[in-house]
Symmetry: C2
Amino acid sequence: VHSLENYKTALDKAVAELPLNRQPENLYEPITYILGLGGKKIRPLLSLMACDLYSGSFMEAIPQALAVEIFHNFTLLHDDIMDKAHIRRGKPTVHIKWNEPTAILSGDLMLILAYEQVVHAPHHLQLPFFHLMSTTAREICEGQQFDMDFETKDQVSLDEYVEMIRLKTAVLLGCSLQLGALRGGANEIDARLLYKFGEQLGIAFQITDDLLDSFGDEASFGKKIGGDILANKKTFLRIKAIEFGNAKQVAQLKELDSEQNVENKIATVKQIFTATGVVDEAQKAIKHYHDNALKCASELNLSEKEQFILSSFANELLNRQV
Amino acid sequence: VHSLENYKTALDKAVAELPLNRQPENLYEPITYILGLGGKKIRPLLSLMACDLYSGSFMEAIPQALAVEIFHNFTLLHDDIMDKAHIRRGKPTVHIKWNEPTAILSGDLMLILAYEQVVHAPHHLQLPFFHLMSTTAREICEGQQFDMDFETKDQVSLDEYVEMIRLKTAVLLGCSLQLGALRGGANEIDARLLYKFGEQLGIAFQITDDLLDSFGDEASFGKKIGGDILANKKTFLRIKAIEFGNAKQVAQLKELDSEQNVENKIATVKQIFTATGVVDEAQKAIKHYHDNALKCASELNLSEKEQFILSSFANELLNRQV
């Protein structure tokens, strides 16, 4: 098994070699731009690692790694338009640097390019890869719409929330691993287990992200603490607090939605989160999904050493943000 | 060979039976809505007809007909956002009836659904259908971007213009026919000829549309005459007029770009179009591309009667608008 550094070098080279120097420039340049903004490239690295674990040769999965990377960046590009975001990774978003029509269209093309990449595989894998990519893409659209729906919904249950983050975030991690594993020659059982491993880990890390957004350390979390609280976002913590809190705490939480004093709002909501015990609940949930993932890993037809490498790499990749 | 009415009935039934009654509603309902807005359904009917010509059984091509219909409506949905259009076929556009994020996302999902439909075919056709759809989808994005680029471009050549309408409009007509023909058992040569037939016919009808937009009869054209002139659109007529006109006519045409009197602007530009001979040129070009199409039809491995049916159906479908 090679090192993450090996994967990264190969991936960066493959991204740089994508045939994007085409006409019309205004359609292709935004794709080069967003793919070049950096980021941890978690998904493609997972594909390469999974392939490497089964074949010892991660280069075979480069097209699938490119597919998930292009697909992920397509979702970021369109999400930025939907969220009216101006900055991504310190640079102007595509619809700001170019314009919205170009951003919509370049995103559409990225979805097409992701499909084209994913089927670059031996013949027997082309259709399975097509279907896995397509199902995942559809689920991610569903997850994004659920997330938008939640903003205006009065009540969101924890089950609905977990299903939303599973669709919006976790399935693509599962898909990335499954694609790589199948390309590396894994059997169907292992491929499904790796999907589940990625999916459950993805849920664990999204809840971790919710927790860190309110209780993290600003320096290591990498962004301002309290963003979700200020946006009244229906995160794991808030949903649990409304479920667990007494009438007074719930009423107070809802009153705080319109609180204008930023510092007071963050501090008071955090007190309620702590008092209602939802921080513990979040930690329990994170452990639950993380354990699910480890159980999947333990059932893989790989040596214990390889299982350990898998879990360590995945944890390292997912450490700060999904 | 069955009648267009037979195809229409079967297609409408298949559209109505699409599994779109799903969650989240806000994602799937806009798709049902835009597919239900009517329209001539030219592309899916071409697929069914092409299949019928070779197999005598058009139902086999229903998934491909759905694919091109869903794909075409995906482009309309996203184009309406880009154009800030409020009305489509007398009803509010999706981004007006719902909102822009939902319109972007539902469009994305339609592209995914089009891919999923197109591969519903016997095994040996699945990958060829995937690649034909994907190449066509990519070309349509390119055509749309060229069209947007032309708005701010000083000079557009006639070759650039024809290539733009080929990509933006014509290739999907070719693709629709090719998919249907292959599904019906046509050989590769006939499938390519049918693609070319649709493509060349598509170019002919787009130039016809340009001509009718300025010189048509309002009642039969179905929309206000002079829209392209008022928008200073770089149509076949305008590009040719700038190429053919003398210095005075070209200068006058450019001055008229900022003319505020609507009736005067339309009348004067039309005079210049007539005086420069570009109406004749447009008619010549239409005949040229139409002849190209008929030549392709004549080379098909079909009886003369079947070739005639094909050309008549295609003309009937494309009669008013592409």
